[in-house]
């Protein structure tokens, strides 16, 4: 039977390795490269970052028209003027000039994809993702492609044929054939669609994607089936068995998120004025909620994880303090195996080496909270305050944020 508090020397405590990694969202051109790796037919093309290269890419393709497509990770590119059909090199130049640097829903276009234009007879939709509830893979196929699938699901849910796939069995050709029949695609598209869906399922499973989506999947007048767009989200946790360096390098992160990524911190940038640091994802989420409930709003989500490294607090505090949105900082710690005095020492050591401009409010509870508070006590000032509860600390930090 356990008795009392177990004391272990923190120096011998191993750091928890291999925390979860963020997902990797691919741009269309990367998604097409990814698909091509699984022999899924995509249009010939090239990704470029300058107008001159766009023209050169079109000339290299050697046939017009070509499509000039803005590469941003947000829907509605076409409506925003980010997709244009060019009949000549001059038109490529004009459109590339317009599109490069364009702002689409807050995303600046830095890359355009130039590809040979396709003749389209029909447009379909295909995707695979995980159905968390069924704990199986879910394939969705629709003869109504080219529009947002959410809109189809809303207006005409019967137009989406769904298939649940047991990961142990995988997707068989006969199951794929039945599925295509159920979706009511043009019979001319059947063989091509079955072929692409089998390859797309492989791309999804062997490629470790959370989501693969082709919208539109097109039937050409010649009878071929072809992926005209590519939306892919890769599971960051599987990066150890793939070479995703190029994909990782182009992730859209703001300055804060990039710094947090480099410091290996679990961070999400938000728009409020209270910087948040908590130990644990659930506690960090809960901290956001409590700040909100007392009338404030969080500038970020940040989970420093277990342990009490001063270095981690230095990185976390620096990232938060560099955020111009932040007017006050809430450090919310609950000691478990890592004891209160260890965390307090980590925070004090961090504040020794960096100057933080925003006032900090600490709530420290859990294992040896009293000892931890005693360590913080002599360092308290207007710039470093302590509150006994999460709620009191939230009120104080929101008040300080003004």
């Amino acid at each position: 039977m356990p008795t009392g508090v177990l004391h272990h020397d923190s120096k011998h405590r191993p750091r928890w390795r291999g925390r979860g990694r963020a997902d990797v969202d691919l741009f269309e051109y990367q998604g097409k490269q990814f698909f091509a790796g699984f022999d899924i037919p995509v249009s010939r093309g090239r990704a470029v970052t300058t107008v001159d290269d766009a023209v050169a890419a079109a000339e290299e393709i050697g046939e017009y028209p070509v499509v000039v497509k803005a590469q941003v990770q947000v829907g509605g590119r076409g409506k925003a003027g980010g997709i244009k059909l060019a009949d000549t090199a001059d038109e490529v130049r004009t459109y590339a000039t317009d599109i490069l640097g364009m702002d689409i829903k807050g995303h600046t276009v830095k890359v355009v994809w130039i590809e040979v234009a396709s003749d389209i007879a029909e447009e379909y939709y295909a995707s695979f993702t995980l159905d968390r509830s069924a704990k199986k893979h879910l394939g969705m196929l629709s003869a109504e492609g080219g529009v947002e699938i959410e809109a189809v699901a809303e207006a005409n849910p019967d137009a989406i044929a769904k298939i649940w796939i047991d990961p142990v069995d995988g997707l068989s050709e006969s199951a794929a054939r039945e599925w295509v029949a159920a979706a009511g695609l043009n019979p001319k598209a059947t063989d091509g669609a079955v072929d692409i869906l089998l390859k797309l399922y492989r791309a999804y499973t062997e490629g470790d994607a959370d989501l693969v989506e082709i919208n539109p999947l097109i039937l050409k007048p010649t009878g071929e089936v072809h992926a005209l767009d590519a939306k892919v989200t890769l599971d960051g946790n599987a990066s150890f068995r793939h070479d995703w360096a190029d994909y990782e390098a182009t992730q859209e992160r703001d300055v804060r998120e990039q710094a947090a990524y480099e410091a290996d911190l679990q961070y999400v940038g938000l728009e409020g004025s209270v910087g948040i640091i908590a130990n644990g994802a659930g506690l960090a989420m809960s901290t956001l909620d409590v700040v909100n409930q007392v009338g404030g709003s969080a500038a970020n989500f940040l989970d420093v994880g277990g342990g009490a490294d001063a270095d981690k607090f230095v990185s976390a505090l620096t990232i938060i303090d560099n955020d111009p949105r932040v007017r006050s900082i809430f450090i919310n710690i609950f000691g478990g195996i890592t004891r209160g005095e260890e965390v307090a020492n980590g925070i004090v050591a961090a504040l020794d080496v960096i100057d933080i401009s925003s006032p900090i409010v600490i709530r420290l509870d859990g294992t040896n909270a009293d000892e931890g508070r005693a360590i913080l006590e002599p360092h308290l000032s207007d710039g470093l305050q302590m509150q006994p509860t999460m709620l009191d600390a939230a009120r104080k930090v929101v008040e300080l944020a003004g």
């Binding site: 979860g20 990694r21 968390r132 946790n237 700040v291 409930q293 478990g336």
Partner: protein, 315 residues
Amino acid sequence: MAIFVDENTKVVYQGLTGSQGRYYGLLNRDYGTQVVAGTNPKKAGTDVEGIPVFASVADAVAETGADASCIFIPAPGVRSAVMEAAEGGVKFIVCITEGVPAQDEAWFFNELKRNHPDVQLLGPNCPGIISPGRSNIGITAGHIAQAPEPGRPNVGIVSRSGTLTYQALYELKLQGIGVTTCVGIGGDPVPGTSFIDCLERFEADDETSAVMMIGEIGGSAEEEAAEYIKANMSKPIAAYIAGQTAPAGKKMGHAGAIVSGGKGTAAAKMEALDDAGVKVGANPTGSRRAHGRDRQGALSPLPSELSGVVRGIRG
């Protein structure tokens, strides 16, 4: 009674010779858990502070009678470690490892269900399980949990979050409320053990008087639990859902904590649970006002809801 694990549970630690496995394996043994074996194919025949190391789970089971395993293997090896445990003959597998690929998780969940239906997997990416006073398997700080007392109302906990669970255990202890078992089901998209698996056992457990659920955004496990509760649960339940103000489309630390396509919001989960008669801690301010401060003057949002439930059954 406790659920899933008790003082008779014999545990083999896969990865006992690694830094994580060693640290927590010994900590668990200090707590009183029957840590009977470790595995490492390269170190069979050695021991870790007296705990024998075997080449495989099957060997450990044959030699020690281990009936549970705890996995501290880095993510790339988890898929084979889970299958080694199931094929080796243990019936309860706790996988602490974070960062396991979702494709692997989906695969071994279904593989176990089909070919090892009598095996219960907990995790991955979870803090483990503690039946206070009996057994602690994983990374929970044992001293913050109060053992259940016979003849008094005791609580069972099931949670997707680690730190919030510790907070719940700690504050229940401050209030002198015992815990039968606290199950950390973890924050991944395909958890081996669900809320429902735990609710079902807590309902059947005579020692458990009330249940606390800690959920978070993402997926629909809380909604499914609400349906189950409505149809099957007679014991009072308090719940808290983290992530009420989380933005859509962002994973909040846990791989499974994401609102996508308008699904998996805290609001929907809270509504479903409330509709099932669960006391949901929506607003910590209000709940504290309703229940008053505890003797520490430090009541936080979660357990105040639960303490109301417990107080209710205590009359």
